[in-house]
């Protein structure tokens, strides 16, 4: 154990350490128990769930690009009720083990977001807070559209704010960061998560077709990390609420960059899929870095970037 205090507070979500996992890349957590004790993580964010089940997009849903992957899962999910019925017991136990459980909601419309959040509010006493995904680029009717302008983003947040007293995070699209962040803060968001995947394309030049089942898909992995660091820094400069940095974190050094740029917490995404024991390794590396910086508390390093 190091001498550095690693506990952080993400807009009311108390975490034993800053390392969490990004929605959609971690199942419900259970899948990783064969690799390590998931209870050691600061938080997990569950797969985006809607009030009713969604089928997602046809296969193929993933392809590899240089230093990253692209996915077009399209938020396939069994719906909040079914999800809680299957995974609620595991998630309650995980919360008792000291890992904050953040449940993500998705919808095609404000009404659908509200229904999903209301269901979670009722069925998920284990949730430390909720994350509203207004930025998934894979859903034609909602997703990006809901978060594509600061006004739309704020509208969603204002509608959801009265529905729960638990902390609400908003998962932002990687565009128009400062103004969207300010609009969300004004609308009552407790914290911001960024970035989601970046809309991108990959074409098989032999067949002239997309390498995935849709023309565009979401880019993630190490190649998005420098972009994400810039966006976290912009958000940090724009608002006072805490930020959860996401995007291409493969090492403790990547996580440390987010903290310096202004993130209070860091979520590991794609790294979980390619190297399943990544998150605890990243936590250990982050802790060693904090120690090497000579601080007593990781909070001293948040936003400590010097320019």
């Amino acid at each position: 154990m190091s001498g550095v205090s690693m506990a952080v507070d993400l807009g009311g979500i108390r975490m034993a350490n800053p390392i969490g996992t990004a929605s959609g890349t971690f199942g419900c957590g259970r899948q990783f128990e064969g690799f390590y004790d998931v209870g050691r993580l600061g938080a997990i964010t569950t797969k985006g769930c809607s009030a009713e089940p969604w089928n997602g997009n046809p296969a193929p849903r993933v392809c590899e690009v240089t230093s990253g992957i692209m996915n077009s899962v399209g938020l396939q999910n069994p719906g909040v009720r079914e999800f809680v019925a299957h995974e609620g017991a595991y998630l309650s136990g995980l919360a008792e083990r000291g890992c904050a459980v953040i449940c993500q909601v998705v919808g095609h419309s404000i009404e659908e977001y509200a229904s999903a959040l209301e269901l979670y509010e009722e069925l998920a006493p284990f949730a430390a807070g909720f994350e509203v995904n207004i930025s998934c680029p894979n859903v034609a009717a909602g997703g990006l559209a809901m978060g594509s302008t600061p006004e739309r983003a704020a509208e969603v947040m204002r509608a959801l704010r009265p529905l729960t007293r638990r902390p609400v995070l908003v998962k932002m699209a990687p565009s128009r960061v400062p103004e969207t962040a300010r609009a969300l803060e004004d609308a009552g968001a407790d914290a911001l998560s960024l970035i989601n995947t970046i809309p991108a394309m990959s074409i098989d030049v032999r067949t002239r077709r997309s390498r995935l089942s849709r023309p565009t898909a979401g880019l993630s992995g190490p190649l998005v990390h420098p972009i994400a660091v810039r966006m976290v820094w912009e958000a940090h400069n724009a608002v006072g609420i805490p930020i959860n940095g996401i995007g291409g974190v493969m090492s403790g050094q990547d996580a440390a960059e987010f903290i310096l740029a202004g993130a209070t917490t860091v979520s590991v995404g794609t790294a979980n899929l390619v190297q399943p024991d990544s998150a605890p390794r990243i936590l250990a590396e982050l802790e060693r870095w904090a120690e090497s910086q000579g601080v007593h508390d990781i909070n001293e390093l948040i936003g400590a970037f010097e320019c």
């Binding site: 899948q31 797969k47 590899e64 899962v73 190297q275």
Partner: protein
């Protein structure tokens, strides 16, 4: 058929390469020392292999086991070199330690009666693995095996050694066995009758056609499907298989072996 099979949770294994070389044209045999995995794997299951050599290529390569030798602590994988990942794998020297996730998915499950095994190309890998088990358990089986050419034919000797009653070979160019696809060989064997199930792995069109033939003959059919995937243990939803009735299954957890009558082809 026994599709809901007890499954071990996937873990991370460091496996030492003890052999890696060509076995037929474009096909390599990888042998790994993997004590834990060799005891945990069942025929039809797969592993997700991190292939060294290019830090910009981060996805693992999913590969079925073609041989499981728990007494020697070895796992064998037979793979076709089709792209960058499998090419890099073919260059991995003996002594290298490979990071392997597994066991992934569930296998063929218990088989009763007489089985017809149908394989096309490197689809023979999980089929040969199952044939060895059937041989040991004394379950009778025949095999239909297809390849592009005699040079690319893989698995014929292994199937015969495992105890196949008959191995009917078909090659696209007629350079070995009958001229035509594996479907033709499967059709001929099925016509003889007497099979209680068909197990098939190969290119998607072959599996779809064999599923149709088996359906017509009234014989239950299992297929081992391939999907582009990432984690291999149920965490990402990138490996979906559409099932009849609109349900989405995951290839890596609910498969890769599926009841052919449930798959939307």
């Amino acid at each position: 058929m026994g599709l809901v099979v007890a499954r071990q949770t996937a873990g991370l294994h460091e496996c030492e390469v003890v052999g890696n070389g060509p076995d037929a044209k474009g096909i390599f045999l990888l042998r790994m020392r993997a004590e834990g995995l060799s005891r945990a794997l069942a025929p039809g299951q797969f592993v997700n292999v991190a292939v060294p050599g290019d830090a910009t290529q981060i996805l693992r390569v999913p590969l079925s086991c073609s041989g499981i030798l728990p007494d020697e602590g070895l796992v064998e994988i037979s793979y076709a070199v089709v792209g960058d990942g499998t090419r890099r794998l073919s260059e991995v020297p003996v002594g290298t330690s490979l990071g392997v996730v597994g066991p992934c998915g569930h296998g063929w499950g218990p088989i009763e009666g007489k089985a017809l095994l149908v394989a096309g190309g490197i689809g023979a890998a999980p089929i040969v693995c199952e044939a060895r088990r059937l041989g040991v358990e004394g379950v009778p089986f025949d095999a239909a095996l297809g390849a592009q050419s005699a040079a690319r034919l893989w698995g014929e000797a292994a199937l015969a050694r495992a105890g196949a009653g008959e191995v009917l070979v078909a090659t696209d160019d007629g350079s070995a066995g009958i001229a035509g696809f594996a479907t033709l060989a499967a059709e001929r064997l099925l016509a003889k009758g007497g099979y209680s199930c068909v197990l098939c792995c190969g290119p998607q069109p072959l599996m779809a056609a064999v599923a149709g033939l088996a359906g017509k003959a009234g014989v239950p059919c299992l297929v081992s499907l391939e999907r582009m995937m990432s984690c291999g243990f149920g965490a990402c939803c990138t490996c979906n298989v559409s099932l009849v009735g609109g349900r989405q299954a995951s290839c890596c957890m609910d498969g890769p072996v599926f009841d052919a009558s449930e798959v939307v082809w």
